[in-house]
């Protein structure tokens, strides 16, 4: 057993050490696998970034109330009277006897993307004065909070970066809508940062919504009081509403887009992976055939077939690991944190987010590289271990 192990180690070290002699063909395998890992990690980092932006907007401590049947805040709507009833529900946190719940409107406004100058549907949220206490993660980083009863507004950090015309201190006009930006806020990099916030009354006026709202965002006493809150509201005959945990709502909002991106990402990665395996097989066959005499000599000296087989696999895995690390590092350096925006198909509104090359994605990329190396090395390894010694020694 020990002999076998030492033999394996010796030949494996030999084959890995001699890789530089087969540089051009080894490079094909390494670059091929690195290419797959870059594409795989980069595409999935888009989905991951989008998902994270959505997920960070939700808090287990909050619930979202919308009209029954509505599939997003965009399509929801109820009257101010109904909003007042919702705020009476038990389970809601109360600060100084005032319910910590904000009745809000969610509409779109046409702004241009900075990068392309083309129009984009930027979400505009109308909130109540309590909104910042309901969402404690939101805080202003520049300027100040807007004054209720005026046409002032604050804008999320990401929206400010992606869309033109909403710089601090600027004023924009669109139809009957006039808004003055007085502050910039952050919110853990979540989708909220893609929004512009103003007084809900301003939107009711300009967008002709009368005294109506689209959602109530409610801070709960604790995550556990969700059921009390929900049951009271859904059982209330005066209301036709659905109650969701905010975390659930945002997870569902990101489903279509992340599903699409992951679908494309995995399809491309699997196909490319198959191609890279072919490349690796070619490389390893070349490696085996250029070392035919060497391998035969080793076998003649008494090294066993298993050791030869493992040495070829070791070489293949070493090349794959190199490719995987190279690919993961390149993807990280090139794409991590890259700011962009896309449209959320469920609300037609823009979501600004950053590509997220997470550690788990890089580990997935490396594992995938090793799988490619293993599969690519297997056939050549078996062939090398079965080389007939006598004829192989005679080969050129």
């Amino acid at each position: 057993m020990f002999r076998w192990l030492s033999q394996t180690l010796i030949i494996s070290a030999l084959s890995v050490r001699t890789i530089p002699r087969r540089l051009s063909s080894s490079a094909v395998a390494v670059i091929g696998i690195a290419g797959v890992v870059i594409v795989f990690v980069a595409v999935l980092s888009i989905g991951e970034g989008f998902r994270a932006a959505m997920a960070n907007a939700g808090s287990p401590n909050r619930a979202l109330v919308m009209r029954g049947g509505a599939d997003s805040e965009m399509t929801s709507g109820f009257s101010g009277a109904e909003a007042d009833i919702i705020k009476e529900a038990p389970g809601l946190r109360r600060d100084d006897n005032r319910p910590a719940a904000s009745a809000e409107l969610y509409v779109l406004v046409d702004l241009n993307k900075r990068s392309t100058g083309t129009p984009a549907n930027v979400p505009l949220r109308g909130v109540e004065p309590i909104a910042l206490r309901v969402r404690d993660e939101v805080h202003l980083v520049e300027g100040r909070m807007f004054q209720f009863g005026t046409n002032e507004a604050i804008v999320g950090r990401a929206a400010n970066g992606q869309f033109a015309g909403i710089d601090l201190g600027s004023e924009f006009t669109s139809g009957n809508l006039k808004i003055k930006i007085v502050g910039i806020f952050e919110s853990r990099g979540s989708v909220s940062e893609s929004e512009i916030w103003c007084d809900s009354r301003l939107i009711q006026g300009v967008y002709q919504r009368g005294n109506s709202y689209q959602s109530v965002i409610a801070a709960l006493d604790s995550p556990a009081s969700f059921d009390t809150f929900k049951d009271w509201l859904t059982a209330n005959p005066q209301l036709n509403v659905q109650v969701r945990r905010e975390t659930e709502y945002y997870a569902q909002q990101s489903q279509v887009m992340t599903g699409l991106i992951n679908g494309i990402g995995y399809t491309v990665a699997v196909l490319m992976g198959i191609g890279a395996v072919f490349g690796a097989i070619l490389t390893m066959y070349t490696a085996v055939s250029t070392r035919t005499r060497e391998i035969a000599t080793l076998r003649a000296l008494g090294f066993n077939a298993g050791a030869v087989l493992i040495s070829v696999l070791a070489e293949s895995l070493a090349l794959a690991a190199l490719g995987g690390i190279l690919g993961g590092a390149t993807a990280y350096l090139a794409f991590n944190g890259y700011q962009t925006s896309t449209m959320n198909f469920q609300t037609f509104s823009q979501v600004a987010f950053a590509f997220a090359v997470t550690r788990s994605l890089m580990i997935q990329g490396l594992s995938y590289a090793l799988v490619m190396g293993l599969v690519g090395g297997l056939m050549p390894a078996i062939r090398a271990s079965r080389l007939p010694i006598a004829t192989a020694l005679r080969e050129l």
Partner: protein, 382 residues
Amino acid sequence: MRYLPLIWRNLMRRKVRTIFTLASVFIALVLYSFLMVVQAAFSMGVDMAGANRLMLLHKVSLIQLLPISYQSRIAATPGVTGVSNETWFGGTYQDKANEFAVVAVGPEYFSLYPEARVPEDQMRAWLADRQGAIVGKASAEKYGWKIGDKVPLQATIWQPKEGQTWFFNVDAIYDGDRDFDKTNFFFHYEYLDENRRGAFGQVGWYIVRIDDPSHSAEIAARLDSQFANSSAETKTSTEKAFLQGFVNQVGNIKAMIIAILAAVLFTLFLLVLANTMAQAVRERTSEIAVLKTLGFSNLLILVLVLAESMFLALSGGGLALALMWVVVGRGSFNNALLPVFIMRGSHVVIGLSLCCALGFVAGALPATTAMRLRITDALRRT
């Protein structure tokens, strides 16, 4: 031509290498086709947009509604030959949100879209039925709807006066060319307006047909100026510009696709093929010298190596393109986000051109090496 057997023999000499090189090229072109199909799907019919159609929307954003009273004023505007309203309904069918687009339209809608082919008798039935719907062939097949079926849709934006469900009669099924979206669900705006709980007399946007596409900018300006300083100002653009705007909102898909494609073609195609050809030439050094001794010209040697490289590129790539053409043509991958999955003839032509170009580039360096070989040096080696 008479050198074909020589090229063939050379390819067959290392079968394993030839097969895996072909396989790698094959996969590269399968990926190319897949990415082209995705890109075409994301372009959302921009290429199909009618040059003589304009879209008139609310200036602030597309979710803002416009009064139905605008319709007669639009129709009376010089240069306008037809107009229909359109309103996004949303709605869900069997809990499957957003599987197809549901829109309420005016009765004139289909006269503006001759691309949607509706049998005449079915069209008459729809026009006579207030509760009628015209559905796309793709959706009809997917959900098994037939003429005369009653289809319930759950309300999302528009609540009916009673309950949560709207009912429609399938009166007609429209068909269209391969790259026309056949998933939509159309019904009468009047039915929506009579039965919803609010927003009466409001529509989503207008489709405007004009007499001369070259006047589209002037007509658009004329339309917008009519509604300037009203409570609902408008923004009119060509249908193509509107759709392109939508595509732009999704992001720069084209750049992403091109980046992936470049990685695919470089690693799986160019690198693998160039390495294979370099190895082939290296192995045959002495043979090439013999050929030259026999009187093969330098040019002929160059052409023979290039031909081998291009043969590998075109056969592996061509096979992939043919396969994908059949698969994509057969499949129905329709969904509401990307309703049109097609592979165009131009994709095949570009694919084959890419094969030629990459086959040439991959073979160029080894071929030059082979051409420059000096007989004496080469024969002395090994």
